[in-house]
Symmetry: D3
Subunit: 216 residues, 6 copies
């Protein structure tokens, strides 16, 4: 009897999940309600749903499956401040996506495109480079260090930082070719980006290139 | 007339703020309601309030001042799942605080205390060290590199990561003494930690020590 | 003065209702809010509205008129669990309607249609019949008892039972013809049905036929 | 590694539960919020939590475990109708418990106690008895039918009925002694009760006694 | 750097606003949620938003800018009382607008139009006039007092009064011509209107005409 | 049967009320939820409950009895703006009560007490007086007009005005003694007050004294 058996199965699983939940002290189902003015896209709301879920789980040890987020999307005509309606603020773009696009453009040496993603006051720092403010400085800095380099990513992590700045971290390994033409790979790196108003305003890079070079 | 003038002032400021708000397209006051079972401490709720505010601002460009979070703290007797009451899950401890305590213990060379903060399966990686699983390995790795080192912090950043892992980043500069007794400082570093169930399970470190050493 | 008089009337009535309300200790207007993913039909929501109203009144002695139910029907893009959207579960069909249709089909001797409404593991029991699993068994059991029988209904009552089973009761009186051709009517009966996944899985019947037969 | 393994276990189970949930089309976690004036006991709220959960599941096929009920218990000073505060209506007593107590008193032949549980206009009907309004009538009706009888219960089911009436069903089997001193048992019965204002106003009984007697 | 500067500006302003807010003890952002059945026009909801904002500010000293009103506009199919859906009540018309239209019609001596705005039981009182029930009475009363008069408005104020009556006040100054042909102006007046079911049912007028006449 | 009859009565009344409600198109039960930081007194919340009820009824023609206001009183630790907790703003005092106290003090010629209720920038205007800024001016103005005067009140009406100003109207009749010692009474008057930060900042008075005097 299919449905009976799945029902019993469901009950078993539910029991099992509850045991685990008890085991892990996860007895609660946090519920988040967000009230915003209508106008965000499904993709933007998806980002909100995910960010709010992680925010709760940062403090409450609930399995993600058990965190519910309800977005109450109010038509402008149903939202008042100071007794007058408001129009919604356009969503901030996804800073992690911006950083991915920037890194892709840089790897393809598409400097024009990469440049277009930089905000005013852009600053970057690479190992031993000191502060640099233009991509050309970076090209010059890199020339004596390697002929070319490519990144293999282990992970991207993004969060809202102080003020209006979003922070994006990415890390992984570098592979490429030394100035003498010999290859290298598996060199650990990590980048930290600051993004504001949809532009990159800061990039800091750390890696083990010097460590490896010293061993050659 | 004090109160009249402050009223006018208030109106002026309010106008001004609104202009700026319009200028920045920030016309909305997002409201977040969180429903949880009673039992979290004011400090834990403070962390929830801050995390939820940042989660909203990650997508909605509202000034933090304009994001409101309401925590509806339900007595266990007012919360039901499956028609039965539940007890709240104890909050996760603050992972950034755990990392600060760990770094303090390490700097004080209090290995016992530092060890007690590590979770099962702990792994760490330093520039050129490869994976290490014990603090003693780290001590041995560091010995030929410097006599002692101290950290000056520029910033800590923490977020919920994948699964049940919290991620903490801290960055800044190193100062200390080379094996030959000469001092160094201002060397950039960044650490990435993973925390689970209140213990550190992973530490990865990047810095410019090799870069600087190469120049000596 | 029409509107004045109705206003006065309204006030009188309101006063009167309040007096009665006080008299009956009914001073509260319970409010129920239900949050579900968009996708239920007006008829299904009507069933939810009625069921939630009765659930409240089962404990709170409020006149039905004073119980308000608000259904917050969330578009899938506004509902997240585990940070991802969900699609709504199709509603359970109305078990009372299913039972009415089954009884109609049986009375019309439309066994094929009636059979199609039975779920796997179907079991039924009539006075003195012991457990039966097919409609044919029922026909055979009934043959020596009466030539034909019709039901007059006094009431139907349905509720959610244990697990995923819905329970439906109907009661009333039987009329028909004894094997000897003489008529009978006014014989009390009650049926209890169990419904799962839109199929009848159990029918139990009690009536006074034997009581009356004994008197012939 | 205990916590790792339980985490993996949790993930497995969560996956498993989700598969089952998908399999059964149960993708939603309905949330019910009830706003009432403070003053109900934990036990009364427990009854509300259970009744609301069942009401939702009567239409929405969610596993009970996944239905969340939040009771917002408002102090009288925070609840206004017509701009004035209200006091809460005392909860209705549990009608199923009243019926259990009544049946216990009857089985113990404690007529005084049983009588005290009957409301004005009480009516009862047993197989072939016609309407009876006093317990003494019942005693007289039963005398020629059996020397004594005891009930074994298979189940109790209670719900809010029409108007202010609650309905309670109980069913099971009868055992006892025929007038000739021979024993009987396993005789199916079902009772239907109506309860109003904490008193029983109607009892209807069906059973197979006549059916069995006819076979002796 | 445009965005940097505006960010700093925003921060300054936010700081400033907060200081003022603290200075005035306004540390809270009251949030009002209104649940009504769908069907009110944006203009009607605008009136609701403004009225609710003022209602809160009547007690809570929050800058209007900081009072948020959310209107949850429920489709009829999502709103239940007594377990059945309801249709929304048509909104009350704006009583202040009705009064403006009435005063305009009177000033234009369009008595037919003015008359059409009066409800049954209409009563008016002017200085020394005693109760009058028709506009013709008013014309007769005014004849010996002035040849013509026009109103300059300083302000209109409207509120819900007792029962179903709305109250509208308007005040300002009168200008016109005395019976002897000499002009007057700057004479203070105030009118109080009662409105019910979209009609004016009462007008009371006070002014300084007699005061000024006495001085001539 | 008392409870049966009251039940029937209740049903009748409910039917009756509903007919009237339909007759008046009042089919909705608006619900208002207010979220504020804990700290307002029952009396202050009572004022909020009443003001919000009137605000809704200013637009929605619901009988006051059918407007429900829920105040969600959040402990400071459960309310966050900008991710930090806030303390509640002390409530504004009741402006109508302030005005009553002021009028009482004036009638008792307790000028010191009355003066203490005036705010900076206080201005008042009486028929023909022109602007006055001190109570002494008022005394001088009144001397030639009457020996003494007392007020009989028909009604007080208060509302939030523009900016942070509350407005209070009171009206009724004057009785007292003319300079020649002859009595008067039944003279219509109306006062308009502006209140800010708990002090009276403006009083305007209109009455028919000159009208009556002219007739002597």
């Amino acid at each position: 009897m299919y449905f009976i058996s799945t029902m019993i199965l469901l009950n078993n699983e539910t029991q099992l999940l509850l045991q685990i939940i008890q085991m892990n002290g996860e007895c609660t189902v946090p519920i988040v309600e967000l009230h915003v003015i209508e106008g965000y896209s499904p993709k933007e709301k998806q980002r909100l749903g995910a960010a709010l879920t992680e925010a709760v789980r940062f403090v409450v040890p609930a399995a993600a499956e058990l965190v519910t987020v309800l977005i109450h999307d109010l038509p402008a005509q149903d939202y008042y401040r100071g007794g007058t309606t408001r129009s919604p603020a356009p969503a901030r773009s996804d800073p992690a996506q911006l950083v991915r696009d920037f890194l892709t453009a840089m790897e393809a040496r598409d400097l024009a495109r990469a440049q277009s993603m930089l905000g005013e006051g852009f600053m970057m720092a690479f190992p031993g480079s000191g502060p640099m403010t233009s991509l050309q400085e970076l090209i010059n800095w890199a020339k004596p260090r390697y002929n070319h380099v490519a990144k293999t990513y282990q992970g991207f992590e993004a969060m809202q930082g102080l003020g209006d700045v979003a922070v994006v971290y990415c890390r992984g390994t570098l592979s490429g070719e030394w100035p003498d033409g010999s290859p290298f790979d598996g060199i650990r790196f990590i980048d930290r980006f600051e993004v504001m108003d949809g532009r990159i305003t800061r990039q800091e890079v750390w890696n083990d290139i010097a460590e490896l070079k010293a061993r050659k």
